[in-house]
């Protein structure tokens, strides 16, 4: 009866069947639930005893009278096969069943006393159990699945167990001085060996997978099995009932061989052994009844002839069947592996084909071995135009050397990486147009060695979005600056006015009869100074107005604050705002874009001044920088109207403004700029008392500095 442990045994015998049968097993297990414990054990005992008894009785029928011996002893095979298949902890059930059946089989036999029958059964159990343990130890539970384990089985079942079983009886017979011990010993040895060799695999495989085979075999297989059985039985009957003729004996005896081969090739060990059983019984039965090629002669000669014939057929057939099973198993393993590999490859291809990125495989030399449809679409080539070509053709001439260099470096270290990070990479379409892209390389092992999986992302849209964003930031900066053009004009007009007046004064002085040259010289000096002053203002403004690339560099936030205070000082004056600072004594170094940081400050300061526009009391804008927990915190506090609790959460949203003419972009842009720098921005406000805007940026220590300066490498630097 199958149980949990048998699944393991079965998996060995029927690798292929098991996979499709898990559900069947479960079903069976469920059905067996009630078959547990004592009931099950009792059933096993009874069933075994009945079978053993029947087989023993069958063997008695096949004895050659008056010799009282037969060609093969089958009941031993039943014990052996059950012990091979059954978990050892249940063997006691077999032992009891065997004792009962062994005793019962000889019940009433005058020649064999009850005690001898009982002892013989015990002895039989011990020898077979020893053999079963030996096989289970040495080849696990796989005695028939390959040639090596079949060899072990043949040694155990064909040599060791028969020897152990028959030797003591023969020895007793020899010691008691009976004649012709040796011929009898040989026959009884062969009888036991043949029974075990033919019967065990037949029963064991049937116990393990017979039911499965009946349930799952296709109709073709069933038909073939039926055809085999019919033809084998037909040929057997014909061969073993044809009267003996010296001329035809060899050919006749060989007639069943093709069908045995058929069974071995197509139905492996189980088929071969059942076929052998059929042949063995047909030949024996007919010989007993004086039919067929083995009929003539004395019974002991008949027995030996039959045994030698069967042995000659059995041994090669067993090894052939095992070899076929071994091959089939290896083949099905190969098939399933190939299948799995094909499925993996198919899955891989599906993934590659369905990714939005263009993906190609490139070898060490840059030769393209595979491209996905996106590659064709992105670059405008047909697949055939790219395969076996070098991948550098996908880049414009000026970048090809760089791409080649990246690939060489990649194969030298073969870690996941992007190429030419920090450089703007462009792709070259078939039509000659260029587009921005990003390239990532991933190592992939293949039969042909290491390949690079090249993933190419079209960056056109991203670039556009970045461009649009940059324009927005710039536009917002211009808008902010335009809010205090008056102050800017004043800032520039002051020195210009001074220059003009000085020049006019000098002209007047020079018209005098004796011009005071010292004074004129002083005037020229003043003119120069004022000119420098005006250009300084313009220089600072130009920095703010320019729309350049974002440039991350170590920068002191204190200097940013001072710079913006300088730019806004006239505006503050105009708005009658007193600006006070409380800056950290140490430089507040961060990694950032100077213009963007100035823009943040500008927005916050103007916002604060704006908030105080309606304030009748003192208008004070306090700027503070401090360092805490690896951050530089900049705060801008005003003494304005403050923001109401309901409006506070929305204050950084786009198009939200508390000012009637406000666009609502300043704070939103400030927030996005702060976040772009890896920082955060927040506000605290008390209505009627003022607000404090704070933003914090990660502090730049010397250690981080080096790392962060590498593009796209640390948090807050990717932009």
């Amino acid at each position: 009866m199958p149980c949990c442990e048998e699944i393991q045994g079965q998996s060995v015998f029927q690798v292929r069947a098991l996979a499709s049968e898990v559900d069947l097993k479960l079903e069976r297990q469920a059905a067996q639930a009630w078959l547990s414990g004592p009931v099950r054990a009792a059933l096993v005992m009874v069933l075994f005893a009945v079978l053993f008894f029947s087989l023993q009785r069958l063997t008695f029928l096949l004895r050659f009278p008056p010799y009282e011996r037969t060609t093969l002893w089958i009941p031993g095979a039943l014990t052996f096969s059950v012990l091979l298949v059954m978990p050892i902890r249940h063997w006691w059930q077999i032992h009891i069943g065997l004792s009962v059946a062994g005793y019962a089989a000889y019940y009433g036999d005058r020649e064999v006393p009850e005690l001898v029958a009982l002892l013989a059964a015990q002895f039989h159990f011990v020898t077979v159990a020893a053999g079963a343990i030996l096989i289970r130890r040495l080849s696990g539970a796989t005695p028939f699945s390959n040639v090596a384990s079949m060899l072990l089985f043949v040694v155990a079942a064909g040599l060791l167990i028969p020897l152990a079983t028959s030797t003591p009886a023969d020895a007793i017979r020899w010691l008691s001085g009976k004649p012709d011990v040796w011929p009898t010993a040989l026959r009884s040895f062969l009888c036991i060996a043949l029974g075990l060799l033919i019967g065990t695999p037949a029963f064991a495989t049937t116990l393990l997978s017979g039911l499965t085979w009946i349930r799952t075999a296709s109709w073709q297989v069933r038909a073939e099995a039926l055809a085999l059985a019919i033809s084998l039985i037909g040929v057997g009957i014909w061969v073993f009932t044809t009267p003996a003729d010296a001329n035809t004996i060899p050919a006749l005896v060989c007639a069943p061989v093709p069908f045995l081969l058929w069974a071995a090739l197509r139905f492996e060990v189980a088929g071969a052994c059942w076929a052998l059983l059929v042949i063995a019984y047909l030949s024996t039965w007919n010989a007993i009844n004086d039919r067929g090629p083995f009929a003539p002669g004395r019974p002991e000669d008949q027995v030996l002839q039959l045994q030698l014939f069967l042995l000659a057929v059995t041994l090669p057939l067993l090894f052939m069947a095992a070899g076929v099973a071994e091959r089939r198993k290896a083949y099905s393993l190969l098939l399933s592996e190939m299948d799995e590999r094909r499925r993996v490859e198919e899955r891989f291809r599906l993934v590659v084909d369905s990714t939005p990125s263009a993906i190609l495989m490139v070898n060490r030399e840059g030769e393209i071995s595979q491209v996905n449809p996106q590659t064709e679409r992105l670059f405008g080539y047909q697949q055939a135009e790219l395969l076996s070509q070098t991948w550098e053709r996908l880049f414009p001439q000026r970048l090809r050397a760089l791409a080649g260099e990246s690939l060489r470096e990649f194969f030298a270290s073969s870690a996941l990486r992007g190429i030419a990070s920090g450089t703007e990479m462009f792709g070259l379409r078939k039509d000659g147009s260029e587009f921005p892209l990003e390239v990532g390389l991933t190592p992939i092992e293949s039969a042909g060695g290491l390949l690079a999986l090249v993933a190419i992302t079209d960056n056109t849209e991203r670039k556009k979005a970045e461009e649009a964003r940059r324009e927005l930031v710039h536009a917002s900066r211009l808008a902010v600056l335009s809010e205090f053009t008056t102050s800017i004009a004043h800032e520039i007009n002051q020195p210009l006015g001074a220059i003009l007046s000085n020049a006019d004064a000098a002209e007047l002085l020079l018209r005098k009869p004796s011009p005071p040259l010292d004074e004129v010289r002083q005037i020229l000096k003043d003119i120069r100074n004022d000119d420098l002053r005006a250009s300084e203002v313009i220089r600072r403004l130009r920095t703010l107005l320019r729309q350049g690339d974002v440039e991350r560099q170590p920068i002191d936030l204190n200097s940013v604050v001072n710079e913006v205070i300088f730019i806004l000082r006239t505006e503050a004056q105009r708005r009658r705002v007193e600006v006070g600072t409380e800056l950290s004594p140490d430089a507040a170094m961060v990694l950032g874009d100077k213009v963007h940081l100035q823009q943040i400050m500008l927005n916050l300061m103007l916002n604060g001044m704006e908030a105080m526009a309606q304030t009748s009391g003192e208008r004070r804008l306090r700027l503070k920088t401090e360092q805490a927990d690896g951050e530089v915190i900049v705060s801008v506090s005003d003494t304005g109207a403050g923001v109401s609790r309901e409006r506070l959460p929305k204050i950084f949203e786009r198009f939200f403004s508390t000012k009637p003419e406000g666009m609502g972009m300043g704070l939103a842009i400030s927030r996005s700029l702060v976040e772009e720098h890896g920082g955060r921005i927040w506000v605290e406000s008390t209505e009627g008392q003022g607000s404090t805007f704070r933003f914090a940026l990660p502090i730049l220590s010397n250690r981080i500095e080096m790392k962060s300066l590498e593009p796209r490498n640390s948090a807050g630097v990717t932009g």
Binding site: Q494, P495, G497, R533, Q573
Partner: protein, 208 residues
């Protein structure tokens, strides 16, 4: 053209601009006093002499406009020239409405500044001339007796001697005598002159 006693008060918070404008004005022959804020000017005594103020609209502390209104309240009638930036149109309008003589946009051309200053000084001179005549006429008027003032009033109202005599209950001859006395004291020689003087003195028929 430059009267030596006229003094120009230059008020601007920007040191270099103030220095340059002062230089220009001095080169043009004016006497210049510079102040860096409105407060500084108010503390200093501007003096009673003729002159004008060149004033920056935008300054820390009190602005130019605030100084303008403070001066108006004090009765200081020195003409004011404002210096303004480009975007200060509203301020300029306010300044002109409040009586500023001129406003100049920075940077200021020397010629326009000098012309504006000259114009301001002229205004100042006219103002001081008008002031003197008003003081003189007021003095003459003070010397009239009550009866003479009454007759003066009625004469400029255009009433005849006979009518005046009837209304005051005096002889026509007496009216004539008073009338010639009024002409003499007011230093006019004709009735037309007398009417003009009355106008300057803002005397109409309802004079006290």
């Amino acid at each position: 053209m430059n009267s030596p006693e006229s003094l120009i008060h230059l008020i601007d918070d920007d040191d270099s601009l103030r220095k340059a404008v002062a230089r220009l004005l001095q080169a043009a022959g004016y006497e210049v006093r510079s102040y860096s804020s409105a407060g500084e000017f108010l503390i200093a005594d501007p003096g009673a002499g003729p002159g004008c103020i060149v004033l920056d609209v935008r300054m820390p502390g009190p602005s130019g406009l605030e100084l303008q209104s403070a001066l108006a309240r004090q009765g200081n009638r020195l003409p004011i020239i404002f210096l303004t930036g480009h975007g200060d149109i509203p301020m300029s309008v306010q300044a002109i409405k409040a009586g500023a003589i001129d406003f100049l946009t920075k940077p200021v051309q020397g010629e326009s500044l000098l012309a504006a200053v000259e114009n301001a000084l002229e205004v100042c001179r006219q103002q001081s001339g008008q002031q003197q005549r008003a003081d003189f006429l007021r003095g003459c008027y003070q010397s009239l007796s009550d009866r003479e003032r009454e007759i003066f009033r009625q004469v400029v109202q255009g009433r005849l001697n006979k009518q005046i005599a009837a209304s005051l209950g005096i002889a026509e001859r007496t009216v004539k005598a008073h009338r010639s006395q009024v002409m003499e004291k007011m230093q006019v020689s004709s009735l037309a002159d007398l009417v003009r003087v009355a106008g300057e003195l803002e005397i109409d028929g309802d004079l006290p």
